[in-house]
């Protein structure tokens, strides 16, 4: 497929773009800074400028496409990852502006111009625990997609607004629009430093309910979304099968979430950011369990 990918130069995007290119997709990366990956042309631009976003929807994906002589073609799909990626990087109002207007522009431009598949990056922070002020419990565990999300921070809120924007545009155009509530993204080189300390201090990952998503497995999830048609508007948690810490759920729940009810029994090390839906609906099978990725001492 020919894919317009926004934010492909970021921490998550660079691995997803590489995965998609490896699967044979043609990717144009629309970002403020170039990625510089062989096989993915960089188009420099700003998602908060609606004119640039509209322009990019129909564009050559590389200089070779000039040879066709058919004019710049509409993309088959848009994957939208560009955003201010977390709380505390910019003033809240600016985080909200960039994420909310950027996503609005991408969805409006893509669907009004006739693209029938858009995948957007939402976030596990919509569950309202990650960037909350103070120690906040989830209302229920594990975190499933039907949770009544009510984040109290502006980053999580921007992602909630992104989801309702996606739902509204999907209803107007009837295309497929999928939102991925992406967990904490772990790049291959990060396992060596990030994971060993968790054996002694799992509390480091309480705010993200101990979850993680391998950046390459995230690539697989995006690819599965690109292949799956006809689902309308969907929200998918994007997480690996298990928690990122070695302690069993019985210990984690008793120690960190003693007052949180369970909606169903959870497996011994099953991820509390549930990935049941992507496994059942998309056929996701994780390839990168952290236990295999952390270098052996």
């Amino acid at each position: 497929m020919r894919i317009l990918f926004t934010g492909g130069s970021g921490k998550a995007g660079r691995h997803v773009v590489a995965y998609l290119v490896a699967q044979g997709h043609r990717v144009l990366n629309f970002d403020r800074v170039p990625l510089g990956l062989a096989g993915a042309h960089d188009l420099t631009g700003d998602i908060t400028d609606a004119g640039q976003v509209y322009s990019a929807m129909r564009s050559h994906a590389g200089y070779d496409e000039l040879e066709t002589g058919t004019g710049a073609q509409l993309f088959d799909a848009v994957v939208h990852f560009a955003a201010v990626p977390r709380h505390g990087m910019m003033p809240d109002t600016e985080t909200f502006r960039v994420n909310v207007m950027g996503t609005y522009n991408v969805l409006e431009a893509a669907l009004k111009m006739g693209i029938r598949k858009v995948i957007i990056a939402s976030s596990e922070t919509t569950y309202g625990v990650c960037f909350s002020d103070g120690v906040v419990d989830p209302k229920v565990l594990p975190l499933d997609e039907d949770y009544d999300i009510d984040p109290m921070d502006s980053y999580g809120m921007s992602k909630k607004v992104n989801e309702v924007t996606a739902q509204s545009f999907q209803r107007r155009f009837g295309a497929d629009v999928y939102a991925l509530r992406i967990g904490n993204v772990v790049e291959p080189h990060e396992y060596a430093t990030l994971f060993p300390p968790l054996a002694d201090d799992p509390g480091l990952r309480r705010r993200i309910t101990f979850s993680y998503i391998d950046a390459r497995d995230l690539g697989q999830i995006v690819d599965l979304c690109l292949q799956k048609d006809g689902l309308g508007f969907q929200i998918f948690n994007a997480a690996n099968d298990t928690n990122a810490v070695p302690q069993p759920n019985a210990e984690l729940l008793a120690r960190f979430f003693p007052n949180v009810p369970l909606s169903r029994p959870v497996g011994d090390v099953e991820g509390l950011l549930s990935n049941r839906k992507i496994r059942a609906v998309l056929g996701f099978r994780q390839r990168h369990d952290w236990r295999d990725e952390v270098p052996k001492a």
Binding site: A50, D92, T93, F96, R97, V100, M101, Y104, N105, E108, D133, D150, P151, M152, D153, S154, M157, K160, V161, V164, T165, Q167, S168, F169, R171, R172
Partner: protein, 284 residues
């Protein structure tokens, strides 16, 4: 109360402010254009400009914020600009008010949030009458901007602990508008998109006064409409004719509005002071 009122120069704002002044409130109107109403201080400014909003709040202290400033309908400006003004404006105003320690905030939401109003084609609601728990999945960018506004309002309430109320206003009308009501009696179809509902601007002001003076409400969403529809026709017949197949969850009064205001009346003690029937002869 000392109230910072955004968008007071618009149709709904001016009618509501007139009532608030009668109730003894002190109003500063923050709007792009002046209202020019005796007793109201006009402060010219743009809700999408955080510095201007912060400066306006610094002219306080204000005990309450009323946020009506918005692009009030689609097709006035391009959708993306309307979405920007409404969504960023509300986020900027509510956060600035929270930072300034304002303990009571009321924002204008809209019945268009239910989706029928500006839908492409004919959209059926999930169920009738429309109450605050009915699904809100509008397909148009204006209704969407109101979904986003309410979501932000809920977050600001959670962050600040202030009372934050969203008023889902139906079509706001004044005495000068009722003369054309009889045009719709024989052909009500054009009013379907508004669910045959309306609110008298003076009653909107009265509801707003109650919302401002009630205590300890936390986060609330409230439909605001007159108790009756804008037509002298049986509501059950309107449902059969214009909303076929839509589940009706309880018996409707003879001419009861399809926008349920039970919560407004229960929570705030609101009662209608006006009706189109006071202004127009009802045909037999």
């Amino acid at each position: 109360m000392r109230i910072l009122f955004t968008g007071g120069s618009g149709k709904a704002g001016r009618m509501a402010i007139a009532v608030l002044l009668q109730k003894g409130h002190r109003v500063v109107n923050f709007d792009l254009r002046p209202l020019g109403m005796p007793g109201v201080t006009d402060l010219a400014g743009d809700v999408t400009d955080p510095a201007a909003v912060t400066a306006a709040l610094a002219a306080g202290p204000f005990e309450a914020l009323v946020h009506f400033a918005a692009i009030p309908r689609p097709l006035a400006v391009p959708d993306a600009e309307m979405f920007r003004v409404n969504v960023l404006g509300t986020e900027i105003v509510l956060h600035a008010a929270a930072r300034a320690g304002v303990g009571k905030m009321v924002i204008a939401s809209s019945e268009s949030i239910y989706g029928m109003c500006y839908a492409d084609g004919t959209m059926q609601p999930e169920r009738l009458p429309l109450d605050e728990t009915t699904a809100v999945t509008p397909m148009d960018s204006y209704g969407l901007s109101k979904v986003a506004n309410e979501a932000v309002a809920r977050m600001v309430q959670r962050q600040s602990g202030a009372d934050v109320l969203c008023l889902r206003m139906t079509l706001v009308l004044g005495p000068e508008d009722y003369a054309r009501f009889p045009q719709d009696f024989a052909n009500p179809a054009p009013r379907r998109r508004g669910s045959f509902a309306y609110v008298d601007g003076r009653d909107l002001g009265a509801a707003l006064h109650l919302a401002l003076t009630a205590q300890g409400l936390g986060f609330q969403i409230l439909n605001v409409a007159q108790a009756e529809s804008c037509l002298p026709l049986a509501s059950a017949d309107l449902v059969r004719r214009f909303f076929p197949g839509v589940p009706v969850t309880r018996p409707l009064g003879p001419t009861e509005s399809l926008v349920c205001t039970a919560r407004l009346r229960r929570l705030l003690g609101h009662v209608d002071g006006h009706s189109w029937r006071d202004h127009v002869a009802v045909p037999r």
